[in-house]
């Protein structure tokens, strides 16, 4: 685990409180939580030997995972232990997807993974807008309207004619899919 350096301002207690806020649906707490965790994750992945551009992708994948799986945090747990457990999992998952560690990926997935690696090298900040294109239309539109164009759920509902819960579910599903799409989806073995 990382020692709390001076750049890592918010401490565990503070982050823990924000996580409880995020679980309750508080946007400010969610923002602060993710903001506070990002530098720690960056340091974590770099300490594990990830290249800076890979590290940033991993940070983003982990932040999405923390957000979508925040219900799986037990309030009497240690937040950082939980966070690093997810970070470690995302890292192993990435190894599998990108074919490092000699895992048996189907050849087309492997080629895909290789080409994805190439584009990453030239473009370190991954273009999520491009990935959005791979989502089903309903999920894509919901995410675009609410998460990118800053419409409220009600406004997005009015604009699309879909019910509010429909939009919420689409966003939820879309984010999950997005999490899988960041990087290359492929199956492999881990134990």
């Amino acid at each position: 685990m990382l020692s709390g350096g001076s750049i890592l301002t918010p401490d565990e207690t503070q982050l823990h409180a924000w996580m409880l806020g995020a679980q309750a649906g508080d946007p400010v707490a969610t923002h602060r939580l993710l903001d506070g965790l990002a530098p720690r994750l960056r340091a974590f992945f770099r300490s594990k030997g990830a290249r800076p551009e890979d590290a940033e992708d991993l940070v983003q994948e982990t932040l999405i995972a923390i957000y979508t799986k925040r219900a799986m945090f037990d309030p009497d747990q240690k937040l950082l232990a939980w966070t690093y457990a997810i970070a470690r999992y995302r890292m192993i998952d990435r190894w599998r997807r990108t074919g490092k560690r000699g895992l048996d990926l189907p050849i087309e997935d492997f080629e895909h993974a290789l080409s994805a690696e190439e584009t990453e090298a030239g473009d370190p900040s991954r273009d999520i807008a491009r990935l959005l294109g791979d989502l089903p239309p309903k999920q894509r539109t919901s995410i675009e309207l609410v998460k990118l164009k800053e419409l409220s759920i009600a406004e997005a509902s009015a604009q699309t004619g879909w019910s509010a819960s429909d939009i919420k579910i689409s966003i939820h599903r879309g984010l999950k899919t997005l999490m899988r799409l960041v990087g290359t989806s492929a199956t492999g073995d881990i134990s």
């Binding site: 995020a22 946007p27 969610t30 957000y67 219900a71 807008a129």
Partner: protein, 215 residues
């Protein structure tokens, strides 16, 4: 997309998030899985003809299976959370289920030793190939598929182990169901072969877990 923009986007409209969704799905998976298993066994093999008279034995076998399912379920629930990965934690989590299984096998062997030598083989094999090894995972299949669906809500980080736990839980449910058909009531048969059937379900779970439980 820059990380700050991603954070901005994620935090814009969060909803309240509780583990209730996972628990609801798990409960649903177990209930529906059990019912589907019963339907499977009823349609394909039929209940044992003397199920009325043999009710106490059926209840014992189903109860034994339910006990294993309970311990496997506890393990699966813990492995649904990301922090189950540390070795110390794992050992603590796996121990209860391991003890139950070891004592079941010990009881089976002791009973077998106490059986008259001439009847031992029949008591051990139930007078033929112990098909329950294959039929127990089969009866647990609906439960297993539903549990995989339920676990999509979760965040397991030890996928093979989580798969094994789900497999053992499904195998336990499958064995409860199978007890309605199985007409061999010898203690050593039930403790040993039921556990083997559940173990096979767990092994299959461990093998496919990494694929099915990825998130």
């Amino acid at each position: 997309m820059k990380t700050e923009d991603l954070i901005e986007a994620l935090a814009r409209t969060p909803e309240a998030a509780t583990p209730d969704r996972l628990y609801r799905r798990l409960a649903l998976a177990l209930i529906v899985g059990l019912v589907l298993g019963l339907i499977l066994i009823r349609v394909f093999m039929g209940f044992r003809p003397d199920i009325g008279v043999a009710a106490p034995m059926v209840a014992m076998k189903a109860g034994f299976s339910a006990l294993i399912a309970t311990f496997a379920g506890g393990l699966a629930l813990r492995l649904a959370k990301p922090t189950a990965g540390a070795t110390g934690t794992l050992r603590r989590l796996v121990t209860p289920l391991g003890l139950v299984i070891l004592s079941a096998i010990a009881i089976g062997l002791i009973t077998l030793m106490a059986t008259e030598p001439g009847h031992r083989f029949a008591a051990f094999t139930g007078g033929g190939f112990p098909w329950c090894i294959i039929l127990i995972p089969f009866c647990g299949l609906p439960t297993a598929l539903l549990l995989v669906w339920a676990m999509r809500e979760a965040a397991p980080t030890r996928l093979a182990l989580a798969g094994a736990a789900i497999g053992a839980l499904s195998g336990g449910v499958g064995a409860m169901v199978y007890a309605m058909f199985c007409s061999v009531d010898s203690v050593s048969f039930v403790t040993i072969w039921y556990v083997m059937g559940i173990g096979l379900a767990a092994a299959i779970g461990a093998m496919v877990g990494a694929r099915l439980l990825r998130w």
